[in-house]
């Protein structure tokens, strides 16, 4: 069966030296004295800066921290918070925790999937909306909850979510 390996080109692309983000990452690595146990902290910083963890940045982190490539990749793919693919311009995370589930989060998710033609973990074709699911934001009292970029939307329904999302995507035109 087919499988898309990551290629040498993807892995070895050298990030531009004058990119200030590289300096931020280096600072974080040095702040932890290059200790390998800071790998997760460093990956958090990479994701904060880039919105995801690009492959060539993994190479950079691996070399700077002297952590084997397969370990960096293993860690980055173990934790669901880390994404290896660029996210959308706007990102919408549907909470699928128990409280939200009981209050109908699945219907909200299905509505978004159909109306925006996007599956969890993916971004719409125009790159405007990324859809993800999460396991509980701890706002269960407000269930069902959707996190849109940095806002927490409470008591969402399949009816009201579409409008909210369209407004958000439209606003950015």
């Amino acid at each position: 069966m087919s499988h898309a390996f990551n290629t040498l080109d993807q892995v070895t692309a050298v990030p531009p030296k004058d990119d200030s983000r590289i300096r931020r990452i280096t600072t974080e690595i040095n702040r932890h004295h290059k200790r390998p146990d800071a790998l997760i902290e460093v990956l958090h910083v990479v994701q904060d800066l880039y919105g995801y963890i690009p492959l060539n940045l993994m190479t950079f982190v691996s070399r700077e921290m002297k952590v084997p490539p397969s370990r960096v990749y293993g860690v980055a793919t173990f934790y669901h918070f880390f994404s290896l693919r660029p996210k959308g311009e706007h990102n919408c995370i549907i909470c699928m925790g128990t409280a939200c589930f009981v209050k109908g989060a699945r219907n909200v998710l299905e509505k978004i999937e159909t109306d925006f033609q996007v599956q969890p973990g993916e971004t719409t074709q125009d790159g405007k909306l990324g859809l993800q699911t999460a396991r509980c934001f701890g706002c269960c009292g407000m269930a069902p909850v959707v996190v849109l970029d940095t806002d927490i939307l409470a008591k969402v329904t399949p009816e009201n979510i579409v409008g909210t999302l369209q407004e958000k995507i439209g606003n950015n035109k």
Binding site: M1, S2, H3, F5, N6, T7, L8, V11, L55, M58, T59, P68, P69, S70, R71, V72, Y73, G74, T77, F78
Partner: protein, 236 residues
């Protein structure tokens, strides 16, 4: 503190020392324990759950490979429950990926197959998951076939702990976990692999094999690594 004490295994009293694992004690006492992820010379992970034993006083089944013995411990290794569970564990291994012995390079030289025979597994009662898995023939000498991988991580451990290359690791999680080389690149592209072949020798199944091996003629020698570790430790 290094005094010997006695433990009971399947009703037989045997001598044991502190820090010895139940598996070590069983080996010395000639009690056969089924193992799969265990390999002498690399660290123990207790992942395959085939070496589980019953210990009086605890409800939990404990892996013999990682549990150290305690004085006067009463250990059972072959109860009906354990036999049944071992069988189920083996069945789960078979149902997980695409194991078809007759077309496997390791046929008749496969530890999983041997254990299944030993445990009396004559059919798999659970539906095969048949996941999409791939093979990697990019390395000049060796092959990797994920269809047959059982995720025992012997290759990962030997590569990290003995060879020191850490080419292999595990990516993802749950039933979607997979062994990867470097950044999930073709093995042949790996910048860390020394092509030492230890992973191939220790792989208990037909997931890793040398390209020149003929179907059904594959011989592996995991003991090679055990001896190597021993020799390195006692180098004068």
């Amino acid at each position: 503190m290094s005094t010997k004490y006695s433990v009971t295994i399947d009703g037989k009293t045997v001598e044991a020392g502190p820090k010895q694992t139940i598996l070590d004690v069983c080996k010395t006492a000639g009690v056969d324990i089924m193992t799969l992820c265990y390999l002498e010379g690399v660290s123990n992970v207790g992942a395959c759950r085939l070496c589980l034993v019953e210990v009086e006083g605890t409800q939990k089944l404990l892996p013999a490979c990682t549990t150290t013995v305690a004085p006067n411990q009463k250990i059972q290794t072959n109860t009906d429950k354990l036999k049944q569970y071992r069988k189920m564990t083996l069945e789960l291994f078979f149902s997980e990926r695409n194991h078809i012995c007759s077309v496997c390079v390791a046929n008749n030289n496969c530890q999983l197959q041997n254990l299944a025979r030993e445990a009396g597994v004559d059919h798999i009662r659970f539906p095969y998951i048949f996941p999409e898995a791939h093979t990697d023939a990019s390395h000049k000498e060796f092959m990797m076939d994920h269809n047959r991988c059982i995720l025992c991580t012997r290759c990962v451990r030997v590569c990290d702990e003995v060879e020191g290359a850490h080419t292999w690791d595990v990516m993802g999680r749950g039933y979607q976990s997979r062994i990867i080389s470097d950044f999930d690149q073709p093995w042949g592209d790996s910048s860390t692999c020394t092509s030492c072949g230890k992973c191939v020798e220790v792989c208990p199944v037909g997931a890793l094999w040398p390209k020149d091996a003929m179907l059904g003629h594959l011989k592996k020698s995991p003991e090679m690594v055990t001896e190597l570790v021993h020799k390195r430790k006692h180098r004068s």
